[in-house]
């Protein structure tokens, strides 16, 4: 068993014990149990699965950021993260529409990447919200 903490600028989304976590880094999917070697990883915009002390699955949407496994504590620091059942599906759908329209009209590269990020976030939200 090890400690998992998910922190966003707004609040601590999760702070508790886990048996197993499954997540995606920018270079691929990973999972970890307790007593892992220290790890620093860049997170992808993806789902984050925690199997907590009772063995129940908890699913989160994590929007990028960085994570560290050290001394049996897994810390995820992300711009935004939310529990699957807290996701506002209508809002995610609207955001997806807006971002898609935006993407067509933008020319600058950085803005484009921003819009693509928005689309990715909305897609992850929608996908995860169906899993709860």
């Amino acid at each position: 068993m090890f400690r998992v903490v998910i922190i966003t600028p707004e609040k601590r989304v999760f702070d508790g014990k886990a048996r197993f976590v499954e997540f995606k880094t920018s270079s691929g999917a990973m999972g970890t149990l307790q007593n892992r070697a220290p790890l620093l990883a860049a997170m992808a915009i993806s789902e984050f699965e925690i199997k907590d002390e009772n063995g129940t699955k908890q699913i989160f949407a994590v929007h990028g950021g960085i994570s560290e496994f050290f001394n049996n504590t897994f810390t995820v620091i992300s711009d935004a993260a939310e529990r699957a059942d807290e996701i506002d599906v209508d809002r995610a759908k609207r955001a997806l529409e807006v971002a898609r329209v935006e993407l067509k009209s933008i020319e600058s590269k950085i803005r484009k990447r921003e819009a693509e990020g928005k689309i990715q976030r909305a897609l992850v939200r929608l996908k995860i919200s169906q899993k709860k």
């Binding site: 922190i7 966003t8 600028p9 707004e10 609040k11 601590r12 880094t25 920018s26 270079s27 691929g28 990973m30 070697a37 220290p38 790890l39 620093l40 990883a41 860049a42 990028g64 950021g65 960085i66 560290e68 050290f70 810390t75 620091i77 711009d79 935004a80 600058s108 950085i110 921003e114």
Partner: protein, 285 residues
Amino acid sequence: MGRGTEQLIKRKIKSVRSTMHITRAMEMVATAKLSKLKRMVKNFYDYEHEFSNLFERVLSAVEEFTSTLIYKEEPKHVLLVVISGDMGLCGSYNNDVIDQGYKSAEKLGDKFVGFYAVGSRAKAKMIFDKKRMKYSLYNVYSTPSYDDAQSFANELVKIYLETEVDSIKIVHGYPKNSLVQKVKTEDFLPIKPVKENRSYVYDYEPAPEELLEAILPQYLGTKMYRIMLESRVAEQNARQNAMRNATENAKDLVKDLTLKYNKARQAYITQEIIEVTNGSEALKD
């Protein structure tokens, strides 16, 4: 002295009272906003603390910095971002920030390229003073969100990469305590790496150089969000103090005016009594 003076003072009292109502309401609005902001700041410091620890750890692992965002040589073209509010009625807060911006610009001399004015106060003052303002952003008045901070940080990165600007400094207010608001000039870009002394062996996913590249935007977003939150807290503190002082002053004024009004009324009554008695004395003869 007649009824006229009395009426005049009465009207004055009424107008001061209604001003007092407004300033008191504004003080309460500032207090409410402040308590919300303070909650946000508390949660954010937790996040920032953890993030900067990890960021330092990543920096220590990187052997050679390839990113253009990292400090390499003394910058020659500096852009100054001045963060003021969109609204006044907060004492000298906005002017303090703008003055500090002007001073920093003077200090930079030839290296100074221009201002980026944030907030309509800075924009209006810079236009009035005919300063070199290259960019401006206003109507940002609300509680700052992380997304806003991130997209503003991204915009600054874009300016840094695509124009002659090779350094960006930010002038902003921050609260020393609830009564004293300070202003400081902070480096935003390029990033000066601070390495951690201790070193642990980590697995890196991906390699440290790529990892650093991936989290740099988040680092800048976090920094910008802190700056935005701090300057907003400072502004609301200043507004709360200014409005509290205004309410106190109005109270004193009402007290003085009421005294004056009562005196005028007494004088009028006394005069009337004298007139009546004089009149009746005259009739006796």
